[in-house]
Symmetry: C2
Subunit: 473 residues, 2 copies
């Protein structure tokens, strides 16, 4: 019967994956109260608002909760089972989940096809068979499952007191990488995520399911994907055709070396990278990047900024040299240095010392404290300007000693950006102290802050292309 | 007579610029005790061990030191004059310095040829004339002069309690950029500098003088240059021919846009970028980079690591995905993924769980805490390995909660790296907390830490090429 239902309701089944991100009840099979794999998420869930049951072969109690020998012993319906037991025990645990009629299973345990060892490959094949012949949906194995930054549900170890929520979804393959993404982007750079899923060896739920799910997820505006390979090629292309949200994709294995390394990582076939590249270029809402810094910095611009109507960029800088480097990058990427209108130059001239260069890039130099706000007003108001790049170059010493606040300028940027519907990105040059000096208040106004001009300009270019695509629909 | 001496002793004069970095006595013309341009360096020098005399038209005392109306009134020989007065008063101030027989003048004041304003261009021409017809050497105008990280002399504003000293010299054009370099690299990334000079409009001392000076400076192992243009083209090529220290060069104005912006920045002509590129490629100790992150991260590897004998790289990672991304980059840049010897694999297998992939890249996954040190030993000891890239991917949560120390592994890396004369670079993936967790102890062992694999691989490639060049001498 399972088989029948699956075939008839394939789309419904595939798209309705909410139980992974907001389960009503959870079982942790292999729950652990000693510091080993699974300790932190067991502890977190058993102390959370989520109704969670530990399952353990020998223990009667875990973190003060009654432990069950088998998931089938739990006197409640279970939406989601998280499996942490050793690889030898996973197949039986999943069978028990099927008997229990759980909706979703996350297998975090590693040690399957990725090892290249025959016996472990066979375990994975058995799991695939169970997924096919039942209604249960499975994420993994060899992953850390899901995190939802809105309800703070996680099958991984996330410290929500340090993360930021936002509108970027992540689809990643490996667990470590998922955690690195959260740590670098959300904790470090204050880039806000909606949900993250790590897919591991993808015996059932794959990037295609997740792209469809996030396309319909109201908390997600931008989808980021770290991809090592695709098993269902045709379906992947079909889903890319349908998607309207921007997708930023980091596809590993561009090289021969990389392709070979993928095989021993998650057992996926990388496929011919040129084919992927051609596919990505064909769909105007898909943007390929080369590393995860690009991926998240660009996603943050998509998630927070209005789309630029054209590709004319105004650059405001406190250092002529850095302005010039930005010009080099702008030209390299094919964007245009906006020609500022006469009115704009007049308005800026009224407040600027005569040594300030008022051509674009506008180099305010040390006059910045006085001239920045009037300059911002004039530039956002200029019809020749479609987007604004603000290069912040004031070192720590004057900032710290003068005790200035960047808050009024950030508020002004936010207001001007909303009023004129023009994106703005701040690039900071300096130590981490200076970066944080801008980053923390900028978060409040949802202005993206990054340290590499190249990535800022990539973002403006992609946003412009995406806007052209939306206009063509 | 000055003229005669200059012509006869041109080389001697040009190379003996020590008085800029270690002056026996200093005059600050336009010394300021109110918070404006020049306040911080005046305050610093007048409170330092350096014998410093303030010069001010109206004030009798500055920070408790007797102020003189004119440098000529100072009853002492002056090695170095730092000029901070308004642009209208600079020519007279420099004439006074010549009369006083100072050895060097740093003109920090801006507002000369870079403004494009005729009157100010004329001032600059007058200054050039003085430099030509006298023995005084002039740095600037439109710069912040010099900093020496060893004796802690600076004509700029540097907080030496936060910087790190090392063996990288910087030649930069603009003052803001010089400060940003110090703030980002030395304060933020613990990259150690020997000396920094900002040249501004270069009416006299230029990059050619400084390259020669740093080639002979015992504290400098690597020279980094940020360049907007060159006035003495032939002499520049002559000096590049002679230099044996590695030079990492960031040349602005690759683009048409950039070239035009340079003109309004320091009034230099950028020249045809392709000619520069051809020149840089011709000299094997010159390495061109695209941004200052590359420049300093790569310089740090040159300054601290042994040169690799070949281009076979071993990669140790805690995340398979990040290992694969590194393989992609390695292949892109033309380095080789080292084929590990059987002995190496045997030694690693003895300690690694069977799911650990022991091919290069070696993916230790969560086993890292146990397997890292034996793996490092086996890999450094492998004759097929010329350099080691260690990708650190452990997120904050386990590091913080387990309270592990990375110190023993870093000490081991240092010892192995010295013993086998193989460079090692650590790339950190994660939040700033994780970065600092490694960066601070790594500083003690002089192991370079960075966040971009691309830059680490660029460094290994350039180091290999540089070693080939040295062997060919």
């Amino acid at each position: 019967m399972g088989k029948e239902i699956k075939h008839n309701n394939d789309n419904l089944k595939r798209n309705n994956l909410n139980f992974f991100f907001a389960p009503n009840s959870i079982a942790i099979i292999g729950a652990s109260d000693s510091p080993r794999f699974g300790f932190w998420n067991t502890k977190y869930l058993l102390n959370s608002k989520f109704k969670t049951y530990p399952v353990h072969l020998y223990k009667d109690e875990i973190f003060g909760h009654k432990a069950y020998k088998n998931i089938k012993d739990i006197p409640d319906n279970i939406d989601l089972a998280i499996i942490l037991v050793g690889n030898e025990s996973v197949v039986q645990a999943v069978k028990d989940c099927v008997d229990k009629h759980v909706k979703g299973v996350i297998i975090e345990t590693a040690g399957f096809a990725e090892t290249g060892i025959k016996r472990y490959i066979k375990y994975q094949e058995e799991l695939e068979e169970i997924a096919k012949s039942s209604n249960v949906r499975i994420i993994g194995p060899n992953c850390v499952g899901v995190t939802n930054f809105y309800n703070e549900f996680t099958s991984s170890d996330v410290d929500f007191s340090k993360t930021v929520k936002g509108n970027i979804a992540i689809i990643a393959q490996s667990g470590v990488l998922g955690n690195v993404f959260i740590d670098w982007a959300s904790v470090g750079q204050k880039i806000g995520f909606s949900k993250i899923v790590t897919l591991g060896n993808k015996i059932d739920v794959d990037e295609i399911d997740m792209i469809e799910y996030f396309e319909n997820d109201p908390d997600t505006k931008v989808i980021t994907i770290y991809l090592e390979g695709v098993k269902r090629g045709d379906a992947f292309i079909e889903v890319l055709k349908k998607i309207t949200k921007p997708i930023i994709i980091l596809k590993n294995g561009r090289s021969e070396l990389g392709s070979r390394a993928i095989k021993s990582h998650t057992g996926s076939l990388a496929g011919n990278d040129r084919i992927f590249d051609a596919i990505f270029k064909q769909y105007p809402s898909i943007f390929r990047v080369d590393n995860f810094y690009e991926m998240f910095n660009i996603a943050q611009v998509f998630a927070t900024q209005p789309l630029p109507r054209g590709n004319n960029v105004a650059i405001i800088t406190g250092s002529g040299s850095i302005g010039i480097l930005a010009c080099d990058e702008l030209e390299k990427q094919g964007l245009i240095l906006a020609k500022l209108g006469e009115d704009t130059i007049q308005s800026m001239r009224a407040v600027a010392p005569d040594w300030v260069s008022l051509k674009n890039p506008v180099d305010l130099g040390p006059s910045q404290m006085i001239t920045l706000n009037p300059t911002l007003k004039a530039i956002f108001n200029d019809n020749n300007v479609d987007s604004v790049l603000f290069l912040f170059t004031v070192p720590r010493l004057p900032l710290e000693l003068l005790g200035v606040s960047i808050m009024p300028s950030l508020r002004l940027i936010k207001n001007l950006s909303s009023k004129f519907k023009k994106p703005c990105i701040i690039c900071v040059f300096g130590s981490r102290w200076v970066f944080d000096f801008i980053l923390k208040p900028a978060l409040r106004f949802q202005i993206p802050v990054m340290d590499r001009v190249k990535e800022a300009i990539m973002a403006l270019k992609m946003m412009y292309e995406y806007n052209q695509y939306l206009l063509s629909l």
